[in-house]
Symmetry: C2
Subunit: 329 residues, 2 copies
């Protein structure tokens, strides 16, 4: 019997294991045009926290008691759609479950790029698209720029670090703890800030980038954003991608250096990945090469089995992942 | 004997009268290429507060004990420069004094637009250029947009209100107190928010703009900025022009709604007026017509006499002006 995770309560603050329940799903026979997908990899991502609140946002909230959604990869094991035969590896949004029955137009065959399939949930998937267009289109980063990236050991951040290096930029990454910082340096960052060290981020950033920063890729908000404002150079561009600091808390963001954006003509631009989905061709061509030729190293934190999905998700908020957080079924 | 105001101390917080001293100036004979200007109008502006701090910024700090600077208008009363004969009305930066001796290339003859000369310190001067390019270039506001303007009774804000109306936009202005609010409505705002009423600004803005705002012209920062984030529509553009709330205080800006800029793809862009000085021709052509034909009403708060200059400046921070704050000599 197929199984799926549902949300049982709308969490306040950090979700708890008891906010989730694993329920059995009917897996009836297919209708015309449908495929049955046996999921092999599930993605858990920070943005999913937002979908647990009952508020209007850029993605609709999860419905209580219904199977949750998210990016997933799987193999078509039964098909009533000629375009998607049995054996096709596909990506789709019916994650948090082991089996999905979907209309064929809601699954995408993986592009013919010779990499491990789970790369299509990471550097060649949503986090990759986010990092790529956030850095190059939103922040208009170019060779010679000094780029600051927060959550640099995360799925998006580690992509940005490596992509920026591959494109001739100087990169300062921030991560929590010695181990993650060592890894961020290993994948190419010119300097690393351990935000758990107790040292003010603005001070550490000022030392790492004595001439200031041209670009800030924000996954975090809060003190990181304030530090980036303090150290911004003239006409710096900030790509505001995520604010993991505030996803679980109602606390306001306190910025001492916001007014500096006037004199420095800082541009802060919010964006989400779906703004760039129509540029997938450009993305696969450029990033596909970088991933294949090893300019971008893949790093994954893998939890095993459908049972572990909520645990993997919660670990995103306690710094439990280096690189892309995945669940392998 | 000519006189000039000097800064005697670098103020902490709100400046006091005792931070300024009126001193006598030598007014010796002119050198070749110089002109002597008898000042008629002095401008005092919020940005001058920043120049009283000894910090690196987009304009250098005032020097203690030296004549302060600022925009001023005056008449050339003596000239050793053929290009600028006696009787020419000029604008220049040697304000806070009754007489200025300057090289001819540091004064600009007023453009041949038939308005009262003090308009060249207001709607046809720095506040006008700020409002014009902030609204139309930085925020890319266009006909049909809903525009929110803070400090809407101020020199820049009241220009933005009227310009936005002249260009076919819906305008919501915020000002402090019933009298200013009535005036902001009189100059054309579709709705007015009295930020001193005690009602949360975000709530009042939500009522005034039930479909949200496309543009925010920020002169204030703080709660106004947070309210604009809360009520922003998709792809809203914020022109960050000033943050009068923080000029005198070291308190941080606290934003509850900052993370909304991600889902709403808000763009916040800091700018200063000097970025647009090379587009003066375009500005005088368009704004000159609007001012002459009465689409923009002039409103001035005038203090009389050089002695009153610090008092006029300080009144900017206690809400003492409607429209442009000027000192008439």
């Amino acid at each position: 019997m197929a199984q799926a995770w549902t949300l049982t309560n709308r969490p306040k603050g950090l979700p708890k294991a008891s906010d989730f329940a694993l329920v059995e799903q009917q897996s009836g026979s297919l209708e015309d045009g449908q495929v049955r997908v046996a999921n092999r990899w599930l993605s858990v991502d920070p943005y999913m926290r937002g979908r647990m609140n009952d508020v209007k946002s850029y993605v609709p909230p999860f419905e209580l008691g219904q199977p949750m959604q998210g990016h997933a990869l799987g193999e078509v094991v039964e098909s009533r759609a000629d375009a998607v035969p049995v054996g096709t590896m596909v990506s789709h949004m019916a994650g948090w479950r082991d089996e999905a029955v979907l209309p064929a137009d809601q699954v995408q065959a993986l592009p013919p790029i010779d990499v491990a399939p789970q790369a299509f949930l990471g550097q060649l998937g949503m986090p990759g698209v986010t990092g790529y267009f956030g850095l190059l289109a939103v922040a208009e980063a170019k060779a010679g720029d000094t780029v600051f990236v927060s959550a640099a050991a995360g799925a998006v951040g580690s992509t940005v670090v490596q992509l920026a290096k591959a494109k001739g930029m100087t990169v300062i990454g921030s991560a929590g703890g010695a181990e993650k910082c060592a890894w961020v340096r290993e994948i190419g960052a010119d300097a690393v800030i351990d935000y758990k060290s107790g040292r003010p981020i603005a001070e550490a950033l000022g030392e790492a980038a004595p001439k200031g920063i041209d670009v800030y890729f924000d996954n975090v908000g809060g003190d990181h954003l304030d530090a980036a404002l303090a150290q911004a150079r003239l006409r710096a561009r900030f790509a505001i991608c995520g604010m993991i600091e505030v996803y679980n808390e109602a606390k306001p963001t306190s910025l001492r250096h916001l007014a500096q954006m006037i004199g420095k003509r800082v541009r802060m631009q919010g964006f989400i990945v779906s703004d760039y989905l129509d540029r997938a061709g450009e993305f696969y061509a450029d990033m596909g090469d970088l991933v294949k030729n090893g300019a971008l190293q893949r790093q994954e934190t893998v939890f095993e089995g459908l049972d572990a999905t909520p645990e993997a998700f919660l670990a995103l908020f306690s710094g439990g992942n280096t690189g892309k957080m995945l669940v392998k079924l």
